[in-house]
Structure formats: C-alpha cells, structure tokens
C-alpha cells in the first residue's frame, strides 16, 4: 500500500476528491495547512506594521491506496488540481506497511 500526500490549492479540493473517488479511492483525509514554496505571498499592513506573508493556505490530502491503484490515483490528483500556475502543489508518495480498520480490525487492503 502507498500513502499519497497531495498539497493542493484550497478551492481545488472538491475536484480532486471527485477525481480520486472516480479513480476508485475509497477514502481520504484532509488537513488545512500552510505552504511555503515558489509561489509569491502577499503583504499585510496593520497601521504602522507591515508583514510579508509567504505561508499560503493550502489543503493537504492523504490517501492510502493499494499499489495497483497508485498510478490512476496520481493522475486523478493532477487532473483535479492543475491550473498551470505556480503554486499548484506537490504530490508525495511513500510506503505504508500496515493498514487497519478500527471498527472491524480488518487489515491490509481490506481495511481501506
């Protein structure tokens, strides 16, 4: 099993979720994060105090998928998240050794 971690633009969440469901991914977990990278931030001014904000709001999607679904899932994320402008985000893939469903105790692919 693989863990897909995708950092995307917040307003793309719905599209990516749908694309992943279409691709056969049965579940995922979403976190609000802040991202720092190439994309330029903005300036905020509060009376005399000026701040450059370069941590931008992003959404992190984590989905554990069986190996055979990996490619399709990656394509789905890209299809759903792409706008072709700097800041579209990244996808990271890592290995998951074990997965368990708490409710039933099922393990491995069955747990997803």
């Amino acid at each position: 099993m693989k863990l897909i971690t995708a950092i995307i633009r917040p307003f793309k969440l719905e599209e990516v979720r749908e694309a992943l469901t279409q691709a056969g991914v049965s579940g995922l977990t979403v976190t609000e994060v802040k991202g720092y990278g190439r994309q330029k931030g903005h300036t905020e001014l509060y009376r005399g105090a000026e701040y450059v904000v370069d941590l931008l709001p992003k959404i992190k999607i984590e989905a554990v998928v069986p190996d055979e679904l990996l490619e399709r899932a990656l394509d789905a994320v890209i299809a759903g998240a792409r706008t072709d402008k700097i800041g579209d985000g990244k996808i990271f893939v890592s290995a998951i050794e074990q997965a368990l469903r708490i409710r039933t105790g099922e393990a491995g692919k069955d747990a997803l």
Partner: protein, 491 residues
C-alpha cells in the same frame, strides 16, 4: 497593468482633492454664513420660535443613534457573517465607508436636495453644508416640523436622523454585490445612485411643508403642490418601505445582474463563515429598528408607541412564520431562517409601523416570513441572478409586500389609524381599500422604475471608470487580502 494601477491611484487622489476643495468651501462658508447671519439678525426680532419638547429630543437623538447602529455594526455583521472568511473585512469595510461617505454627502448636499422645496422630484440647494441650521450669531437653531402642530424639532436632529436613513439604504444594496466588486466601484456607484435615486425618491415620498404651514383651507392646494410627487398621491410610507427597502432591493438585483455571478457560484459550497455574526447583526437590527420605525413618528407620542409595538410584534411573528414554514417544507428549522425571518418582518412592517393597528402587525409579520422565505428559495431560483445575500428576496419583496399591506391594514375597519386627510383641521380618514392599495402600488411602481434605471446607469458608469469586478485571482484569494491588505482573523 500600469493603467489599471494608475486608475487605482487616481481615485484616492481625486478624493484628496475633494477634501481640499471642501476645506476651501468651508472657509468661504464661514464668511458666507456670517453675512447670512447678519441678514437673519433683523427678522430675529420676531417672537421667539416654539421650543422643542425635551422628551421628543431625547427620543429622536436616541433613535438616530439606534439607526446608526443598524448600519455599523448591525448590517455589516448580518452581511459579513454570510460571506466567506476571506471576504469578511471587505464587507465590513464597504458598509463602514459607504455609510460614512453617504453621511458626509448628506450634510454637503443630500439633505438639501431631499428635504427643501424645489419641484415634485428634487429639492433645492438652500441647505448646502447644512447652511442655516445653526445661527452662530445668536446661538439659535432652525426648526423642522413634525406631524403635529406646534411641535417643532431642532432641524439638526431631523438632519441627523434622516442621514442615517440615506446611509443605510445605500449600504443595503451591497449585499447583492459583495465578494466580487471592486472597492472603488462601490464608492462610485454609491455616489451616483444616492444622488439620482435615493434623493429624488426620498423627496417624492417624504417632502412636504409640515403641519404648521396648513393654517387655512385656502392654502392647502398650493402647499400640496410644493410637496413630493408620491406624497401628493397620498401614499403611506411610515419609515421607508419605498424609500429604503424597495429602492435598495431593486438596485441590488440590478447590480447582481450587471456584475454576474461569483466565481464558483453553483459549483463550490459558498457557506456563511459565521452565522454567529449574522445572528448578532439580525438582533442588533431588530434593536436599532425601533429607532428607525418608532423614531419616524418624530415625537415620543402615541404614534411612536404604536410603531414601536408593531415593530416588535410583526418581527416576532415573522420569525415564527419563517421558522415553522421552513420546518414544514425543508424538514429542519434553521437559525439563519429565524434571523432572516426577523429581518423580513422588520422590512415589511417598516412602511406600516405607525400606519396600522395590532391586527395589521400580526398579519404583516406572519405573511412577511412566508413571502420572503419563498423569495430566497423559490423566487430566487426563477431569477437566476447571484443576488448574493438576498437583498431582493428580503428587502425588495418584503418592502413591496409591506407597502401594499400598509394600504390594506391602514383601514380603521381592520384596526388601522387611517391617515390625516385634512392638515388644517387635523382630521383622519381612509380613502377606501382599493383606492389606497392603488396609490400604494403606484408608489411602489415609480420607485422600482427610478431605482432600476439609475442603478443600471450607475453600475455602468462605475464599470467605465474603474471596472466593476476584481480579477478572478483576486476573487479566489479573497477581497480582504487583495483589496484591503488584511485578514479578518488570525486565530
């Protein structure tokens, strides 16, 4: 890009210039006033003007403060809670600055154009910069009339009270166009619409010579002829069903059409970011509306008492009818529904407040809740505009319902007080249900036409000068950061 930027810079520069010009005007005005006062000194030898009753003054000052509260913060919060976090400050800012802008313009020329004699559609310029309301030579104040004879009010109190009406009306429109409009476009639109829709409608509906002028039956026709066009028709609008709510509600709808929908509208979930704020806003609106409606009696008298209890009761009724109707139809009663019901009730009872009795308040309240619920669900789907915060569904529809129902429940046979038919003898009457309903419909119709046309032109002009909408990227990022360089929350 550079041109755009230049345009951006242009506006505040212009405004700064305006401030300078104003300063010069004021300096002149100082001297002009001195001269005027010297001239005024002679007739000052006449018997002293009647003194306002302090109870009236206390009530009207309180009412004015209450109506101010209705805009900042009440309306701003009611609206602000309904937008997404990223646009919260832009809503608060638009309301705050438009309220201030219109208030200032009101003192510069608005009051004069609305409430001094001119023709049936526009007033005159005798009160520019509130000239003549306070005489610094002898410390005397000019007086405004009320609806009772020999019951003057400091004109400055009336100026202030009416200023809050003008300002909130323009702010109401914002609900239709938030989350995508440029701040500079908001300001340009506001100035134009205020001048060419609010002022004439206010003049048409509310300008007349006051009861003390009606000393003799022979003078009545001549006096009436100087009043506003809709006043002459005999339309009843206690606190602004036409002037405020229909006026703003229709302008909002036009704005929603001209601007187009928000990015993602209908596709993404566009949810209220804080119904807590919306509830605070609705509650403060209710609180402040007592000033709006009962203050419109201009005295702390029985008419104010009646307007007060009606405002209270109709609103409570509308909360219930919206809540129960929604429960029945949608399965769950919602807080946003209850709060919207309150506003619907308040809007609908506005033209009726002192013009109907208790039965009218019950009926108008109960009906308003159901009608406006349909306005923001069924009717909204038909119209297909992104009237973002339902200004049309609540204010226009509620205002129209209220204006028409006022015509009905004004009838003494339905517990209403009727209206003054003879200002010389101060006798009341009721022209008949069909007649009054027709008059009310005419007033509604005229208002709709004026505001629709003016709003359309005003939006188009703003579009020409600075463009109406922010870029899609700015809209995505949110207006707080892109237009104002701030975030509402950092928690």
């Amino acid at each position: 890009m550079t041109i755009l930027n230049d345009r951006k810079r242009y506006l505040p520069a212009l405004a700064a210039l305006g401030c300078g010009a104003l300063a010069l005007l004021l300096a002149q005005h100082g001297f002009a006033q001195e001269a005027a006062q010297a001239a005024a000194a002679a007739p000052a030898a006449a018997p002293p003007p009647p003194v306002p009753n302090k109870g009236d003054v206390a009530w009207m000052l309180t009412s004015t403060a209450l109506v101010l509260l209705m805009s900042v913060p009440a309306l701003a919060l009611f609206y602000g809670g309904l937008v997404r976090t990223k646009n919260m400050l832009s809503v608060l800012m638009q309301v705050f600055v438009v309220f201030s802008l219109i208030s200032v313009l009101w003192c510069v020329y608005g009051y004069s154009v609305a409430f001094t004699e001119g023709n049936a559609f526009f007033g005159g310029f005798s009160r520019l910069f509130l000239n003549g309301t306070f005489n610094s030579a002898d410390g005397s104040f000019s007086m405004a009339g009320t609806f009772s004879k020999n019951t003057p009010l400091y004109e400055l109190v009336f100026v202030g009270f009416q200023a809050t009406f003008a300002a909130i009306t323009v702010c109401l429109i914002l609900g239709s166009i938030v989350e995508r409009i440029k701040f500079s476009a908001v300001l340009i639109f506001s100035v134009i619409w205020f001048t060419f829709s609010y002022l004439p409608v206010a003049h048409m509906v509310w300008f007349w010579q006051g009861p003390d002028a009606y000393t003799d039956a022979s003078k009545v026709d001549a006096l009436n002829a100087t009043a506003g066009y809709i006043w002459q028709l005999g339309a009843l609008d206690f606190a602004g069903g036409t002037v405020v709510h229909i006026n703003a509600g229709i302008a909002g709808l036009v704005g929603a059409f001209v601007l187009g929908k928000r990015v993602g509208y209908g596709k993404e979930a566009i949810k209220p970011h804080s119904l807590t704020m919306t509830m605070i806003g609705a509650s403060l609106l209710w609180f402040g509306w007592f000033g709006f409606n009962a203050g419109s009696a201009l005295e702390a008298n029985g008419s104010a008492a009646l307007a007060f209890i009606n405002t209270y009761l109709a609103t409570a009724c509308a909360v219930l009818s919206w809540t129960f109707a929604e429960w029945l139809i949608k399965g769950k009663p919602s807080m946003l529904g209850a709060a919207s019901g309150a506003v619907a009730g308040l809007v609908a009872i506005t033209p009726a407040a002192g013009n109907v009795g208790i039965p009218g308040a019950f009926a108008i309240g109960l009906l308003a809740g159901v009608i406006c619920l349909w306005g923001v669900t069924g009717l909204k789907k038909l119209i297909k505009a992104d009237d973002s915060l339902d200004v049309f569904g609540v204010h226009a529809l509620g205002g129209i319902s209220g204006a028409l129902l006022t015509g009905i429940f004004n009838a003494p046979s339905l517990g209403g007080p009727g209206s003054t038919q003879d200002w010389v003898k101060m006798t009341t009457g009721y022209p008949g249900m069909l007649e009054q309903l027709l008059i009310q419909a005419k007033a509604v119709g005229i208002t709709i036409v004026v505001t629709a046309v003016v709003a359309f032109i005003a939006f188009k002009i703003a579009d020409l000068i600075v463009g109406l909408r922010v870029t899609e990227e700015e809209e995505r990022e949110g207006l707080d950061i892109s237009s104002h360089g701030e975030s509402a929350y950092d928690m």
